[in-house]
Amino acid sequence: MKPRVWTLLKFYTVLVYGFMFAPIVVVLILAFNSSQFGGFPIEGLSLRWFYKLAENEAIVRALRTSLLLGVLTALIATTLGILASMALVRYQFRGKQWITTFLISPVLVPETVLAVGLLIFLRWLHMPRSFGLLLIGHSIIALPFVVLVVQARLIGIRKDYEEAARSLGASPMQTFFQITLPLLMPAVFAGALFAFTISFDNITATIFWRPSGMETVPTQIFGMLRNSVSPEINALGFVMICITVGLPLLAGGLARYFSRRKV
């Protein structure tokens, strides 16, 4: 390829990356704007909106709800996901392809439809909107992704280790907890983190499922948006990005650092 064409393509790529990240960077910067309006111009730098945020009871409550929901969703989705992945990777049985498709199928249903279906069905069973409905729903949405992540990792773990443990007299349970699970830990963490983020970020279905008076962070932001973007939202955006981007990056970095030191 001509170098000139390649340069042009690279330039185009940089522009597209700029398109993807410029607006996010703007939010991160505006979080520190001391102006009482959420937009430009930047009048000065201050942390006042972060203090305001910490004093805003509604937001703190929403953050607490979101964190709890995310952690519980990760727990349920990861547990179900590991069990299913074990079956799919470690056993041969009829209809496996079909089962895999079935486990992934919730991804194929538009979230809006998934939300209305579950809502109406549980209401018919006299189970109105509740935290439980949110938990069930978020777990359903996260499960396919956990299955994909854990399965991919499990395929990479050789069966020999498990067979060696079994031949040395370990029971299937012992083998799972002492051999398979430790080897699978990175995938468990990745899957759990994925599930947490999916739950923490969800708004499309959450709007349908939340009981009145209960807000998660995204629905709280959505409610606050009705008038304009307040500077508090920018600060909240900064905090959320730190949670969902900063923590995984930090965890990944630390894992790398420690695994290198061990060698």
């Binding site: 607006p23 703007v26 430009f40 996901g81 919730p106 194929l108 579950l118 069905f121 777990s139 962070v217």
Partner: protein, 285 residues
Amino acid sequence: MPVDRRPWLLLSPALVFITAMVVIPMAFILVYSFYENIDLAVDVPAFQFGNWQELFTDSYYHTAIWKTLRLSLIVTVLAAVLGYIPAYVIAMTKYRHKWLLLLLLILPFWISFIIRTLSWIHIFGNQGALNGLMNLLGLGDLPFQIMYTEFTVIVGFIHVFLPYMILNIYVSLEGIDENLEPAARTLGATPWQAFREVTLPLSLPGLAAGSLLVFVLTGGSYVTPLILGGPSDFLFGNLVYDAVVTELNWPMGATLSFTLLFLLGSVVILYSRLMGMNQLAKAFG
């Protein structure tokens, strides 16, 4: 040979969960679409076609279907055009820190959807960066009304779904034998010919999968138009939202949901007939 029960034992929690919480509710919305709405949040079991009749006769719903298909198509095509070149560059580059480019592609998935969406208000809004820039340059009567139009809705959708498109194309470009293009060149093809007749066709499965994904995700949305659009910028999903959340008309909400499922499901099935099912499986794997 006796059937091994263990895999089914391991699978049963997930299978039961999905059956009870996805499959049965999906069938149930069809049943519920025949129920009759009497008052706000009050409905009685019935078998009548009132909701379906409304859907088929009221042109408001037809407009929404048309708008949804049109907007989804625009977003898909633009995302494909915007996304192909970056995917190509990432796949072909000899850059040592290629992993960084890939990490940056995955990063948006970790950033809150609603923050990414509302961030465009800071760009296009009356107090946004664009108007500020225009002001600095002393251009025209301010502020420009760009915000809350179909344009901003499209930009918002592309911004959120572009990484899906790039990743899908990238995966399929990465799988191409890197000797093929040089081989075509040796046989006398120009660089452009080599790309058009070797690389592009081989990357089509990724492009097709990415396009389907973006189309279906856009078609099922309703939050983006609420945040970035004006009153006339609604999708079919917004009608579902209005029926269920605002009007508390559950039977109509069920009818509209089933219609949305049917429309987008038809697109997926039609598409997979054209492309072959295993390509789609790859897209989600």
